[in-house]
C-alpha cells in the first residue's frame, strides 16, 4: 500500500513538472465570416462579414489544451417592401434586420500531428451566447435580447513559419440552443487570424 501511494505521488510530481516544462500558451485574434443557418437564416439570410474573435489557449499536455474565447458577429439584412401577413393584418415596409451575437466560452481541444510548420487541431467550446435581435420598420424598432447555452465544435490549423508567431485558420459551428424566450441561434464560422505563442 505504501509503495502504491509513493508511486502515485511520484507520478503526480512528475506530471506537474512535465506541465511546467511543456506548458505553453498562445493568443489568437481572428477575423470571422459567418453563415447563418436554421432560425437565424429565416430571419437574416445574408452572410455576416463583420466578425471578430479573441482566444487564449494553454497546453495542459503536449497534445491537450484548454482556453477561453470571446467573439462578436453582426448579421444584417435590408428587406425592401416586404409584406407580412398575420391573420387579417398585413404590414408592408422596408425592414432593416440586425442580429448581434457574442459567444463566450471555455474551450478544450487536442493538437494533432504537425506537418512541417502546420499544426492541425480540434476543439469543443462550451459556454454562453448573448444575442440581440433588432428590426427597424417605419419609424418603429422591435428589440429583443436573449442568452443561450452554447456549444462550438471547431477544426483548424495553426501555421507557424517563424517561432512565436503564426496564422490560424479554422471552421466552426456556433450552436446557441433555444430557450423559453428565444429560438436557437446557429451559424457556421470561417475564421482567419494571427497567433502569438509563448507569451
Amino acid at each position: 500500500m505504501k509503495k502504491i501511494l509513493f508511486l502515485i505521488f511520484l507520478f503526480c510530481v512528475s506530471g506537474m513538472k512535465l506541465y511546467a516544462q511543456e506548458h505553453s500558451n498562445a493568443i489568437a485574434l481572428e477575423y470571422q465570416v459567418s453563415f447563418p443557418s436554421g432560425n437565424l437564416k429565416d430571419y437574416i439570410a445574408k452572410t455576416s462579414w463583420r466578425g471578430i474573435g479573441f482566444e487564449y489557449r494553454q497546453n495542459v499536455t503536449e497534445k491537450l489544451f484548454w482556453g477561453v474565447e470571446v467573439g462578436w458577429n453582426v448579421f444584417y439584412e435590408k428587406r425592401e417592401d416586404a409584406t407580412y401577413t398575420d391573420g387579417t393584418i398585413s404590414i408592408t415596409g422596408t425592414q432593416f434586420r440586425y442580429e448581434s451575437a457574442v459567444p463566450m466560452m471555455v474551450n478544450v481541444g487536442m493538437d494533432f500531428k504537425s506537418f512541417n510548420i502546420a499544426k492541425p487541431y480540434a476543439s469543443l467550446g462550451i459556454g454562453a451566447l448573448y444575442n440581440r435581435t433588432r428590426m427597424d420598420v417605419g419609424v418603429y424598432t422591435l428589440d429583443k435580447e436573449a442568452w443561450h447555452f452554447l456549444l462550438k465544435p471547431e477544426l483548424g490549423v495553426i501555421i507557424s513559419p517563424t517561432e512565436g508567431t503564426g496564422i490560424i485558420f479554422n471552421v466552426n459551428y456556433e450552436a446557441g440552443f433555444n430557450n423559453s424566450s428565444s429560438k436557437a441561434i446557429n451559424y457556421f464560422g470561417l475564421n482567419l487570424g494571427f497567433v502569438l505563442n509563448e507569451l
Binding site: I27, L29, Y31, W49, R50, I52, F54, W72, V74, Y76, D81, T83, T85, G87, T88, I89, S90, I91, T92, G93, T94, F96, Y98, D136, V137, G138, V139, Y140, G164, T165, F194, L196, L199
Partner: protein, 209 residues
C-alpha cells in the same frame, strides 16, 4: 515578450478600428420609413356589394372636434391626391362611386394626422459650469442637442352601412394606416402617397368584386 504584447495590442486596435468603420447603416431616404398596414373583418362580405360613397374632403385629426371646435381639413394638393388615388383603386377593384348614401353599401372615410417628435440630449455632468481651479475661470453650460422629425399618417376606414353591430353602431370592415416621415418636398410626398395607397389596395385583394 513586450514586443509580442505590443504587436497584439496593435492588431487588436486595428481590428477595432476596422470593425467600427464597418458600422451598419440604416435608412437613408425618407421613403424607407413608409409603412402600410391593413386590416379587415374576416366576417364581412365584399363581393356583390359594389356601391360605395366617400366625402370630397380629407379630415385632419387635430383634436379640434373633441374641444368643441369645427373640424379642419387637409390642404391641397394632398387632399385631392389621396381622394383621387383611393377612387382609382376602388374602381380597379370593381367598385362604383355613388353620391346617394341610400344606394351605397359602404362609406370610405379618409383622414390624416401629423405628429412631431422632439428629442433632446443635455450632458449636464460634463458641461457643468463651475470653478475648477482656485482663481480659475468658468464657462456656460453646453447647449443641448435636439432632434425633431414629423410623421404623417393617412387613415382610411371602410364602414359597412348595411350591417350595423351591437347597439346599431356602424363599424369599419376594412382599414388602412399609412405612416411615414414627412419632408418638405411636395412632388416626392405626392409620389409616396400614391405608392403607399396603391400598396394598401395591393395587399387587400379580398376587397375585389
Amino acid at each position: 515578450m513586450k514586443t509580442k504584447k505590443r504587436m497584439l495590442l496593435a492588431l487588436a486596435a486595428g481590428f477595432c478600428f476596422t470593425f467600427y468603420g464597418c458600422y451598419i447603416s440604416g435608412p437613408t431616404y425618407t421613403d424607407e420609413f413608409d409603412l402600410v398596414i391593413t386590416n379587415y373583418d374576416k366576417n364581412a362580405t365584399f363581393k356583390g356589394r359594389a356601391f360605395y360613397a366617400m366625402p370630397d374632403k380629407v379630415a385632419k385629426i387635430t383634436g379640434n372636434v373633441a374641444q368643441g371646435l369645427p373640424p379642419t381639413y387637409l390642404s391641397e394638393p394632398y387632399a385631392s391626391t389621396i381622394i383621387n388615388r383611393i377612387q382609382a383603386n376602388m374602381l380597379a377593384l370593381g367598385y362604383t362611386l355613388v353620391t346617394d348614401t341610400a344606394l351605397a353599401e359602404f362609406v370610405l372615410f379618409p383622414s390624416e394626422m401629423e405628429v412631431t417628435n422632439i428629442s433632446y440630449y443635455y450632458d449636464y455632468y460634463y458641461y457643468y459650469w463651475g470653478w475648477y481651479y482656485p482663481g480659475g475661470g468658468w464657462y456656460y453650460p453646453y447647449y443641448p442637442v435636439t432632434t425633431t422629425y414629423t410623421t404623417g399618417t393617412i387613415i382610411v376606414n371602410m364602414v359597412d352601412l348595411r350591417n350595423p353591430g351591437a347597439n346599431d353602431k356602424l363599424h369599419a370592415v376594412w382599414s388602412t394606416i399609412i405612416n411615414g416621415v414627412m419632408d418638405g418636398d411636395v412632388t416626392t410626398a405626392i409620389s409616396r402617397i400614391n405608392t403607399t395607397i396603391d400598396q394598401a389596395y395591393e395587399q387587400s385583394q379580398y376587397l375585389h368584386q
